[in-house]
Amino acid sequence: MDLHQAALDNNWQRKGFLHKVFTSPEQQLIQEAASPNYMVWLLWSMKEASYKIVNRTKCFRSYNPTSFCCISLTNDRGDTSGIVSYGKNKFFIRSFYGVDFIHSIAVVSQQDFEHIHSHLLPNRPDYVEAFNSALPDYVIRKSTTGIPQMLHRSNHTTHAASISHHGRHLAIIYSDVPLSGD
Protein backbone atom coordinates (compact mmCIF):
# COMPACT_ATOMS: atom_id res chain seq x y z
CA MET A 1 0.00 0.00 0.00
CA ASP A 2 1.04 3.55 -0.79
CA LEU A 3 1.57 5.49 2.46
CA HIS A 4 1.45 8.79 0.61
CA GLN A 5 -1.94 7.92 -0.89
CA ALA A 6 -3.23 6.70 2.49
CA ALA A 7 -2.28 10.02 4.07
CA LEU A 8 -4.25 11.84 1.38
CA ASP A 9 -7.32 9.60 1.48
CA ASN A 10 -7.76 8.41 5.03
CA ASN A 11 -7.59 10.21 8.32
CA TRP A 12 -7.24 7.39 10.81
CA GLN A 13 -7.15 9.94 13.65
CA ARG A 14 -10.79 10.68 13.00
CA LYS A 15 -13.02 9.84 15.97
CA GLY A 16 -14.29 6.26 15.76
CA PHE A 17 -11.99 5.13 12.94
CA LEU A 18 -9.58 2.98 14.96
CA HIS A 19 -12.42 1.40 16.91
CA LYS A 20 -14.08 0.19 13.68
CA VAL A 21 -10.91 -1.29 12.24
CA PHE A 22 -8.71 -2.50 15.08
CA THR A 23 -9.11 -4.77 18.09
CA SER A 24 -8.18 -3.42 21.54
CA PRO A 25 -4.71 -5.05 21.55
CA GLU A 26 -4.08 -3.63 18.06
CA GLN A 27 -5.13 -0.16 19.21
CA GLN A 28 -2.64 -0.52 22.04
CA LEU A 29 0.12 -1.44 19.57
CA ILE A 30 -0.71 1.70 17.61
CA GLN A 31 -0.66 3.88 20.72
CA GLU A 32 2.69 2.52 21.84
CA ALA A 33 4.35 2.52 18.42
CA ALA A 34 7.23 4.87 17.65
CA SER A 35 5.24 5.79 14.53
CA PRO A 36 1.52 5.26 15.12
CA ASN A 37 0.87 6.18 11.49
CA TYR A 38 3.16 3.43 10.23
CA MET A 39 1.62 0.92 12.65
CA VAL A 40 -1.92 1.76 11.50
CA TRP A 41 -1.10 1.00 7.88
CA LEU A 42 1.12 -1.97 8.68
CA LEU A 43 -1.74 -3.64 10.57
CA TRP A 44 -4.21 -2.60 7.88
CA SER A 45 -2.10 -4.14 5.11
CA MET A 46 -1.74 -7.38 7.13
CA LYS A 47 -5.52 -7.55 7.46
CA GLU A 48 -6.04 -6.82 3.78
CA ALA A 49 -3.59 -9.50 2.69
CA SER A 50 -5.43 -12.02 4.88
CA TYR A 51 -8.82 -10.86 3.65
CA LYS A 52 -7.68 -11.65 0.12
CA ILE A 53 -7.11 -15.29 1.09
CA VAL A 54 -10.53 -15.58 2.71
CA ASN A 55 -12.20 -13.85 -0.20
CA ARG A 56 -10.56 -16.19 -2.72
CA THR A 57 -10.84 -19.47 -0.89
CA LYS A 58 -14.32 -19.04 0.52
CA CYS A 59 -15.77 -16.82 -2.23
CA PHE A 60 -17.30 -14.91 0.61
CA ARG A 61 -17.30 -11.16 1.00
CA SER A 62 -17.80 -9.22 4.18
CA TYR A 63 -16.39 -5.99 5.57
CA ASN A 64 -15.21 -6.95 9.01
CA PRO A 65 -11.68 -5.68 9.67
CA THR A 66 -11.86 -6.31 13.44
CA SER A 67 -12.41 -10.03 12.78
CA PHE A 68 -8.88 -10.20 11.41
CA CYS A 69 -6.64 -10.03 14.48
CA CYS A 70 -2.95 -9.25 14.07
CA ILE A 71 -0.92 -11.09 16.69
CA SER A 72 2.67 -12.09 17.45
CA LEU A 73 4.32 -9.27 15.52
CA THR A 74 8.09 -9.42 15.40
CA ASN A 75 10.32 -6.89 13.78
CA ASP A 76 13.60 -7.61 12.05
CA ARG A 77 15.38 -4.50 10.77
CA GLY A 78 12.11 -2.95 9.70
CA ASP A 79 10.56 -6.03 8.15
CA THR A 80 7.71 -7.49 10.16
CA SER A 81 6.49 -11.04 10.59
CA GLY A 82 3.23 -11.85 12.27
CA ILE A 83 0.09 -13.90 12.36
CA VAL A 84 -3.43 -12.85 11.52
CA SER A 85 -6.13 -14.95 13.11
CA TYR A 86 -9.57 -15.06 11.56
CA GLY A 87 -12.01 -17.32 13.33
CA LYS A 88 -10.36 -20.73 13.33
CA ASN A 89 -7.96 -19.77 10.54
CA LYS A 90 -4.43 -18.53 10.95
CA PHE A 91 -2.47 -16.75 8.27
CA PHE A 92 1.24 -16.09 8.32
CA ILE A 93 2.32 -12.64 7.29
CA ARG A 94 5.51 -11.03 6.14
CA SER A 95 5.60 -7.30 5.60
CA PHE A 96 8.33 -5.15 4.24
CA TYR A 97 8.47 -1.46 3.60
CA GLY A 98 10.04 1.23 1.49
CA VAL A 99 10.17 5.00 1.79
CA ASP A 100 6.47 5.39 1.06
CA PHE A 101 4.96 1.92 0.93
CA ILE A 102 4.23 -1.21 2.96
CA HIS A 103 3.86 -4.55 1.25
CA SER A 104 2.31 -7.47 3.16
CA ILE A 105 2.08 -11.07 2.02
CA ALA A 106 -0.24 -13.56 3.69
CA VAL A 107 0.06 -17.34 3.35
CA VAL A 108 -1.68 -20.33 4.89
CA SER A 109 1.49 -22.23 5.74
CA GLN A 110 4.93 -20.85 6.71
CA GLN A 111 6.64 -23.01 4.08
CA ASP A 112 4.72 -21.19 1.34
CA PHE A 113 7.07 -18.23 1.80
CA GLU A 114 9.90 -20.27 0.31
CA HIS A 115 8.06 -20.40 -3.00
CA ILE A 116 6.71 -16.88 -3.20
CA HIS A 117 8.23 -14.19 -5.36
CA SER A 118 7.37 -10.50 -5.25
CA HIS A 119 7.71 -8.04 -8.03
CA LEU A 120 7.12 -4.36 -7.33
CA LEU A 121 6.23 -1.99 -10.14
CA PRO A 122 4.89 1.52 -10.60
CA ASN A 123 1.09 1.43 -10.79
CA ARG A 124 0.58 2.12 -14.47
CA PRO A 125 -2.05 0.91 -16.94
CA ASP A 126 0.60 -1.01 -18.89
CA TYR A 127 1.87 -2.97 -15.88
CA VAL A 128 1.11 -6.34 -17.49
CA GLU A 129 3.41 -5.55 -20.43
CA ALA A 130 6.01 -4.14 -18.03
CA PHE A 131 5.94 -7.31 -15.95
CA ASN A 132 5.91 -9.69 -18.90
CA SER A 133 8.91 -8.00 -20.47
CA ALA A 134 10.81 -7.88 -17.15
CA LEU A 135 10.48 -11.59 -16.36
CA PRO A 136 11.82 -14.16 -18.78
CA ASP A 137 9.98 -17.15 -17.30
CA TYR A 138 6.43 -16.07 -16.64
CA VAL A 139 3.54 -14.21 -18.21
CA ILE A 140 0.48 -12.92 -16.37
CA ARG A 141 -2.94 -13.93 -17.51
CA LYS A 142 -6.41 -13.89 -16.01
CA SER A 143 -8.32 -17.07 -15.26
CA THR A 144 -11.87 -17.48 -16.52
CA THR A 145 -13.09 -16.22 -13.14
CA GLY A 146 -10.96 -13.08 -13.41
CA ILE A 147 -8.30 -14.17 -10.93
CA PRO A 148 -4.74 -13.46 -12.07
CA GLN A 149 -2.44 -16.40 -12.72
CA MET A 150 1.10 -16.89 -13.95
CA LEU A 151 1.82 -19.05 -16.93
CA HIS A 152 5.31 -20.53 -17.11
CA ARG A 153 6.56 -19.85 -20.61
CA SER A 154 8.42 -23.09 -21.18
CA ASN A 155 6.73 -25.57 -18.79
CA HIS A 156 3.23 -24.27 -19.58
CA THR A 157 2.29 -24.70 -15.93
CA THR A 158 -0.05 -22.27 -14.22
CA HIS A 159 0.85 -20.70 -10.90
CA ALA A 160 -1.10 -18.83 -8.24
CA ALA A 161 -0.64 -15.08 -8.37
CA SER A 162 -1.99 -11.99 -6.70
CA ILE A 163 -1.89 -8.36 -7.76
CA SER A 164 -2.29 -5.44 -5.35
CA HIS A 165 -2.27 -1.82 -6.29
CA HIS A 166 -2.66 1.37 -4.33
CA GLY A 167 -1.69 4.90 -5.30
CA ARG A 168 1.60 4.83 -7.19
CA HIS A 169 2.56 1.28 -6.25
CA LEU A 170 1.74 -2.11 -7.63
CA ALA A 171 2.89 -5.50 -6.37
CA ILE A 172 2.65 -8.81 -8.15
CA ILE A 173 3.31 -11.93 -6.14
CA TYR A 174 3.33 -15.46 -7.43
CA SER A 175 4.32 -18.96 -6.42
CA ASP A 176 6.91 -21.05 -8.25
CA VAL A 177 4.92 -24.19 -7.35
CA PRO A 178 2.46 -25.09 -10.11
CA LEU A 179 -1.22 -25.14 -9.20
CA SER A 180 -2.59 -28.65 -8.81
CA GLY A 181 -4.22 -29.84 -12.00
CA ASP A 182 -1.21 -29.03 -14.16
Partner: protein, 97 residues
Protein backbone atom coordinates in the same frame (compact mmCIF):
# COMPACT_ATOMS: atom_id res chain seq x y z
CA UNK B 1 -53.95 0.74 3.20
CA UNK B 2 -51.60 -1.94 2.02
CA UNK B 3 -50.69 0.06 -1.07
CA UNK B 4 -50.11 3.30 0.81
CA UNK B 5 -47.83 1.67 3.37
CA UNK B 6 -45.83 0.12 0.55
CA UNK B 7 -45.56 3.54 -1.02
CA UNK B 8 -44.19 4.94 2.21
CA UNK B 9 -41.54 2.27 2.33
CA UNK B 10 -40.54 3.08 -1.24
CA UNK B 11 -40.33 6.78 -0.57
CA UNK B 12 -38.30 6.18 2.50
CA UNK B 13 -35.89 4.02 0.52
CA UNK B 14 -35.59 6.70 -2.13
CA UNK B 15 -34.81 9.35 0.48
CA UNK B 16 -32.21 7.11 2.04
CA UNK B 17 -30.73 6.39 -1.38
CA UNK B 18 -30.27 10.14 -1.98
CA UNK B 19 -28.47 10.57 1.34
CA UNK B 20 -26.29 7.49 0.80
CA UNK B 21 -25.41 8.80 -2.66
CA UNK B 22 -24.41 12.20 -1.24
CA UNK B 23 -22.36 10.52 1.46
CA UNK B 24 -20.35 8.28 -0.87
CA UNK B 25 -19.80 10.94 -3.56
CA UNK B 26 -16.52 12.32 -2.09
CA UNK B 27 -15.01 8.82 -2.00
CA UNK B 28 -15.49 7.74 -5.61
CA UNK B 29 -14.20 8.93 -8.96
CA UNK B 30 -16.72 6.78 -10.83
CA UNK B 31 -19.14 9.64 -11.39
CA UNK B 32 -21.16 7.90 -14.13
CA UNK B 33 -21.78 4.85 -11.96
CA UNK B 34 -22.58 7.08 -8.98
CA UNK B 35 -25.15 8.95 -11.06
CA UNK B 36 -26.97 5.69 -11.81
CA UNK B 37 -26.59 3.81 -8.56
CA UNK B 38 -29.17 1.31 -7.46
CA UNK B 39 -29.42 -1.03 -4.51
CA UNK B 40 -27.04 -3.56 -6.09
CA UNK B 41 -24.24 -1.06 -6.68
CA UNK B 42 -21.13 -2.38 -4.98
CA UNK B 43 -18.90 0.16 -3.20
CA UNK B 44 -15.64 -1.60 -4.01
CA UNK B 45 -16.31 -3.42 -7.29
CA UNK B 46 -18.47 -0.79 -9.01
CA UNK B 47 -17.59 2.50 -7.36
CA UNK B 48 -13.92 1.52 -6.84
CA UNK B 49 -13.95 2.97 -3.34
CA UNK B 50 -10.80 2.08 -1.42
CA UNK B 51 -11.51 -0.31 1.41
CA UNK B 52 -10.21 2.03 4.14
CA UNK B 53 -12.65 4.69 2.92
CA UNK B 54 -15.56 2.36 3.66
CA UNK B 55 -14.87 3.10 7.33
CA UNK B 56 -15.19 6.81 6.59
CA UNK B 57 -18.48 6.22 4.82
CA UNK B 58 -19.82 4.25 7.80
CA UNK B 59 -18.69 7.02 10.18
CA UNK B 60 -20.26 9.68 7.93
CA UNK B 61 -23.56 7.75 7.87
CA UNK B 62 -23.46 7.41 11.66
CA UNK B 63 -23.08 11.17 12.00
CA UNK B 64 -25.68 11.94 9.35
CA UNK B 65 -28.38 9.75 10.91
CA UNK B 66 -27.20 9.93 14.53
CA UNK B 67 -27.04 6.16 14.69
CA UNK B 68 -24.42 3.73 15.84
CA UNK B 69 -23.41 1.02 13.40
CA UNK B 70 -21.89 -1.95 15.17
CA UNK B 71 -19.12 -3.94 13.50
CA UNK B 72 -21.43 -6.85 12.73
CA UNK B 73 -23.74 -4.55 10.77
CA UNK B 74 -20.79 -2.82 9.09
CA UNK B 75 -19.67 -6.22 7.80
CA UNK B 76 -22.75 -6.30 5.55
CA UNK B 77 -22.31 -2.81 4.10
CA UNK B 78 -20.72 -3.65 0.76
CA UNK B 79 -23.57 -2.43 -1.42
CA UNK B 80 -25.90 0.55 -1.47
CA UNK B 81 -28.91 -1.66 -0.75
CA UNK B 82 -27.30 -3.46 2.18
CA UNK B 83 -26.29 -0.11 3.67
CA UNK B 84 -29.83 1.23 3.37
CA UNK B 85 -31.12 -1.87 5.16
CA UNK B 86 -28.64 -1.36 8.01
CA UNK B 87 -29.58 2.33 8.32
CA UNK B 88 -33.29 1.46 8.39
CA UNK B 89 -32.73 -1.15 11.08
CA UNK B 90 -30.68 1.25 13.19
CA UNK B 91 -33.23 4.07 12.78
CA UNK B 92 -35.94 1.59 13.80
CA UNK B 93 -33.99 0.58 16.89
CA UNK B 94 -33.73 4.27 17.81
CA UNK B 95 -37.50 4.69 17.52
CA UNK B 96 -38.19 1.85 19.90
CA UNK B 97 -36.01 3.23 22.65
Amino acid sequence: MHVSSLKNINMENEDLMVIVKETIAPYTEETDILENIDKDTDFIRDLKINSASLVDIVLDLEERFTIEIDNESMAKMLTVGASIEVIKTKLGEGDRE
